[in-house]
């Protein structure tokens, strides 16, 4: 990647889309404005998916069940647009079985993650959320089935749970964000002024420009989360896996991060986020994958919200920890 290109503010997905070409290209050009040019505007309330999935139709209509048994119904659905969305999805799970220490954690996980959308991954502790994320990152190989990911490894970003990273290493916020240039710069190429400027833009956008030279070890939980998101912005991540990014983070930070994630999704990034909070889910998610009892079910956030808030407005909405209807 040359510097001039950066300077002009590039589309988030300059390269790396190697799949069925033209359709995709047209699509991406039409819906993905530049990430960094749009930094000044305040995004509207979380947009719903532009293209309704068959699942939505199904749920919104006759069926009261909020879960669809298999997301493949969305592919099979008669809607042409659905077919297009499913075809170009960059992340699919096929009959996935995952195990830890010889014990199966998840099995028969099927599904297509929507591109340019945020999918919430919910479930009780130990339901296998982190395991699934590791499988998608490729650090855990499945017992059977497969994860089909079209996103090149250099454009995948993973934010582990808090404290999983040793941030005592003497590195400043700016240096951390600059390591996000690895896909273009690798281990040797020097950073140029344009990249530093872009790092500055990213930090300003995340509200951490005053921390640029602060060592990572001195940051608060919210600040380090912003810094780590900053690296994924620099990396131009197309697939973003976030493991409880809003845990122990103040509401301001949550708002900033949500806005940034929303924007990234709008540019076309596929985002998978582990959540434990119905409020966050209602603001952020376009789609939901519920993990429980070793299986996965797909749902829409609206359906979840409807089911869990009707008549109980006095009670804060809670996320289901098991499949609705089974208990």
């Amino acid at each position: 990647m040359d510097c001039s290109k950066h300077h002009g503010g590039t589309s988030l997905h300059g390269r790396g889309l190697s799949i069925p070409a033209t359709l995709l290209l047209c699509y991406s050009l039409s819906v993905r404005p530049s990430l960094f040019r749009s930094s000044s505007h305040v995004p509207p309330s979380p947009p719903r998916r532009a293209v309704p999935l068959f699942a939505d139709v199904l749920i919104g209509g006759a069926s009261a069940d909020i879960c669809t048994d298999s997301p493949d119904t969305s592919v099979a659905g008669g809607l042409l647009v659905c077919g297009v969305v499913a075809l170009m999805s960059r992340l699919q799970l096929k009959d996935l079985q995952l195990a830890r220490g010889g014990r199966t954690v998840l099995e028969h996980i099927d599904g297509t993650f929507q591109d340019a959308a945020i999918t919430a991954l919910i479930g009780a502790n130990g339901a296998g959320k982190s395991t699934l994320i590791q499988a998608i990152m490729g650090t855990l190989s499945p017992v059977s089935g497969s994860v089909e990911c079209q996103v090149p490894a250099v454009r995948r970003a993973w934010l582990p749970q808090q404290l999983a990273l040793d941030l005592s290493f003497p590195m400043s916020v700016e240096e951390l964000i600059m390591t996000g240039t690895w896909p273009s710069h690798g281990a040797f190429k020097g950073y140029c002024g344009a990249h530093y400027r872009r790092g500055r833009e990213i930090m300003t956008r995340l509200g951490i420009s005053h921390l640029a030279h602060r060592p990572l070890g001195e940051l608060s939980g919210g600040q380090r989360q912003r810094a780590l998101i900053g690296r994924t912005l620099m990396q131009e991540a197309e697939l973003l896996l976030l493991d409880e990014p809003f845990a122990n983070v103040d509401t301001d930070t949550v708002d900033v991060l949500m806005e940034v994630l929303r924007d990234m999704a709008r540019q076309g990034a596929t985002i998978l986020i582990v959540l434990h909070d119905m409020v966050h889910l209602s603001k952020l998610a376009d789609d939901v994958l519920i993990l429980a009892e070793g299986h996965g079910r797909w749902a829409t956030p609206d359906a979840l919200l409807d089911r869990y808030t009707i008549g109980q407005l006095s009670r804060p909405p809670r996320l289901p920890l098991s499949f609705p209807g089974t208990n």
Binding site: M137, P170, T179
Partner: protein
Amino acid sequence: MLETLYAWFIAPFDYAFMNRALVASLALSLAAPPLGVFLVLRGMSLIGDAMSHAILPGVALGFLLAGFSLPAMSLGGMLSGILVALLAGSVSQMTGHREDASMASFFLISLAGGVMLVSLAGSSVDLTHVLFGSILAVDSTALLLIALISSLIIIILAVIFRALVVECLDPLFLRGQGVRGGLVHSIFLGLVVLNLTAGFQTLGTLMAVGLMMLPATTARFWSTRLEGLIMISVLVALVSSSGGLLLSYHLSLPSGPAIILLAGVAYLFSAIFGRHYSLSARRRRRATPLGADMNE
């Protein structure tokens, strides 16, 4: 006045052996501390120590086969160091033993084997030489070898620097970028072995670690930045190695321990008076006012 200064600080190096010793230790002081800084940051401070034991059997074997020849001993040390590191790594992978446990086992085995080999071959004087070095007996071949290895270490470290930094912080990110963290780690350990083989002639296999670790641990008290750590540690190493040589000349002390002890003094001083984490830093009650760094 000037003459006294000259007599104390410059005149000793008029002797060729002191001159060579100075160049050798300065070369080592440039290469060793950065490695030590990374070892400290990765919580592997004792690995250097363990590695120094690992090179001993190779050095002894070189000594057995070729006599007191530096290239043969260095080559042997390098090979055995790398071999032991690989063995320890693979044993811990195969058995699920923690790596520090298997390393400790292997290094003890190699230390015992090395001492055994040296004593089989020669007198106890030779053993002392190998274990504690004799910086004042560095000849031009040794000097060339030390300079060569030091340069090589600095160049390779520069090449893997960014990868090493990222690997320390977030190995998974590096892996996502298609770089095998294990490879970077192995190259780094290789550099540690290389450095120890360069150092054993001058400081001895056991003391060579000192020039790597003590400046690095000292620097930790003065800086919280990686660049700062490296620069300060190199500075400490340069000062203590030239100072140690002078001390050993004037007070007829063994040079290796003199150098390391001087670095040790710097460490203790820093532990008490350093800017960060030190005793005095803990008692300090000053703080920058709120918002002081807003305009950085």
